[in-house]
């Protein structure tokens, strides 16, 4: 793969430095003013929350047994859901980006639906699919698998809402990468699976990575579908967002402290995803 991706990454860095020197950057001042308002709109509520944190109690609040259990469960289920998103999402993105068949646009619309659907609607849909009285629920229960009120229900809910993030990122990356190198590999006698493994996937690895990170972040924040479909029990289905929602009823300090933890994890995760696309092409080149 070195001969394939090395020239590409060189070309990219070259064009970027070039662009930085000569590009026209005359942004009108009023755009800056509006941009500042936009940034404030996002940052101010976060700051307001930080101000409300009871710092004296912060550590005891976030290290309470129920908080740690919820955080642990959130991280474990989100990791499992992200793996499931990759397993199901990579083939979907490949089919949507490379193949052409009737109903493709419709398929894309439906795959992306969870992006715009209120999560609670997703939860209801999952309930009527995998629930005990659901479409598949009865046969699954006959097979001895209980999904209702189990951690697997949380993973299903998270995968449902996070899958489009991976598919969108990866499909975009695949389209940007184009089919040139794949065609060359094919003319050199590589079979489709070899082309996929040696050319396509390595080329879009940054897109795959950022898609996976975004999916993970979406899983961490999942609330509505989980509440509707999986229920809420400490250590089994009560993830961090559900714990925050419950704590809010009685202990506002605990809810704010846990919210801050979730914000910190989300910032770390999203920060990671926006560094990756720039860092990876050179890595891929040196491999």
């Amino acid at each position: 793969m070195t001969p394939v991706s090395a020239p590409r990454s060189k070309a990219r860095t070259g064009s970027r430095t070039n662009r930085r020197d000569t590009r026209y950057t005359g942004v009108p001042p009023w755009v800056f003013a509006l941009a500042a308002a936009g940034a404030l709109f996002v940052l101010l509520p976060l700051a307001a929350m930080v101000v409300r944190v009871n710092w004296g109690e912060f550590i005891p609040l976030i290290t309470s047994e129920s908080s740690l259990t919820a955080l642990g469960l959130s991280l474990r289920t989100s990791a499992a859901s992200t793996v499931l998103c990759i397993v199901l999402g990579v083939p979907l993105a490949l089919v949507l980006a490379r193949a052409s068949f009737p109903g493709q646009r419709l398929l894309r619309a439906f795959v992306l639906l969870p992006l715009v659907l209120p999560p609670v609607v997703g939860g209801i849909a999952l309930l009527y699919t995998f629930g005990r009285q659901g479409l598949l629920g009865r046969s699954i229960e006959l097979a001895g698998i209980q999904i209702a009120f189990s951690t697997s229900a949380v993973v299903l809910a998270q995968t449902f809402v996070a899958l489009p993030f991976l598919v969108v990122s990866l499909e975009g990356a695949l389209r940007t990468a184009g089919t040139k190198y794949e065609a060359v590999a094919a003319t050199l006698g590589a079979r489709p699976t070899t082309v996929l493994r040696r050319v396509s996937i390595p080329l879009v690895l940054p897109g795959l990575a950022s898609g996976a990170v975004l999916s993970f972040a979406r899983c961490l924040g999942e609330f509505g579908a989980t509440l509707t479909f999986a229920g809420s029990l400490q250590g089994v289905t009560r993830t961090l967002p559900l714990e925050i929602y419950l704590q809010r009823e009685t202990d506002a300090d605990a809810a704010v402290a846990l919210s801050l933890v979730l914000v910190a994890v989300a910032v770390a995760v999203v920060g990671l995803s926006y560094r990756r696309p720039r860092a990876l092409p050179s890595q891929a080149g040196t491999e």
């Binding site: 309930l127 009527y128 629930g131 005990r132 009285q133 209702a148 009120f149 509440l227 509707t228 999986a230 229920g231 809420s232 029990l233 400490q234 289905t237 009560r238 559900l242 929602y245 419950l246 704590q247 809010r248 009823e249 009685t250 506002a252």
Partner: protein, 267 residues
């Protein structure tokens, strides 16, 4: 937060329709108001009522009766969980009347001196077992909920219906092992009506509202945890006369009729 604005025109039409259907249960609100004419003379304007989610259907009925009895007035209703309502009022939301589903949440407002006087208790509610139609796990008593393999869903102890559940458990000497502790009674009801759970503990009024989607099983220990609903005028209200008139209607005979029809008890 869900604010329900009830258009006056539609309500008038509903009132006329209700009055026309003599003998129908719904007519009692509108007709009763006209007959007594007691709580009126409060003037015109808007009264904003914050009420617990479990009061949705009853307060909507009472509000239309109030508007019919006081031409020129408008009732704006906002329904949410009691703790949400308390938070909203504490943060300065423009409410004239607040009705909570438990005394604990109302006490937070009393302690902060955000309401006028002592709240009036206007309704009570008790727990009932709700099972899906057909009662698949054959539940007939509170003790049955602890049978192995029965999937029971309850409210989390942090919310009023959950603390009532804990009290009942102690009174009955039965410890439940719920498969889920939901943060609202509606979520418990949803898990039962969809057949996900074999049984859930909800309020009597919830079972009544759910109609034939669930079956209610009363149990004797439920009287150990009676939830009392208080109502009060918000201190910062700018239309206190209307607020008092509305509270008078809720606590008066008309309000009581609507509430008891929905399954609420008398405090």
């Amino acid at each position: 937060m869900s604010t329900i604005r009830v258009p006056v025109g539609a309500l008038l039409a509903a009132g006329v329709l209700a009055a026309g259907l003599a003998g129908c249960a719904a007519s009692s609100t509108a007709a009763g108001t006209t007959r007594s004419g007691s709580s009126t003379a409060a003037g015109t304007g808007t009264v904003t009522v914050f009420a617990a989610a479990s009061l949705k259907s009853t307060f909507t009925k009472i509000a239309s009766g109030f508007e019919a009895a006081n031409p020129g007035t408008k009732v704006t209703l906002n329904f949410a969980g009691s703790s949400d309502l308390v938070t909203q009022v504490t943060q300065g939301a423009p409410a004239d009347v607040i009705a909570s589903a438990d005394t604990t949440n109302m006490a937070k407002l009393s302690d902060a001196k955000l309401i006028d006087g002592t709240p009036s208790k206007f309704a009570t509610n008790t727990l009932e077992i709700a099972v899906p139609p057909g009662n698949p796990a054959s539940i007939s008593s509170f003790a049955d909920l602890a049978k192995p393999g029965v999937k029971v869903v309850v409210c989390a102890p942090q919310v009023p219906c959950g603390s009532a559940t804990e009290t009942v458990e102690q009174a009955a000497g039965t410890t439940l092992k719920p498969v889920s502790e939901e943060s609202s009674v509606t979520d418990v009801l949803g898990k039962v009506s969809s057949g996900e759970a074999d049984a859930g503990l909800v309020y009597v009024t919830d079972v009544k509202t759910a109609g034939d989607k669930v079956k209610g099983i009363p149990f004797s220990e439920s009287d150990q945890a009676v939830n009392t609903y208080p109502i009060a005028t918000v201190g910062s209200s700018k239309s206190k006369e209307l607020a008092k008139a509305f509270i008078a209607m809720v606590t008066g005979s008309e309000g009581r009729k609507v509430l008891s029809d929905a399954g609420f008890g008398t405090p």
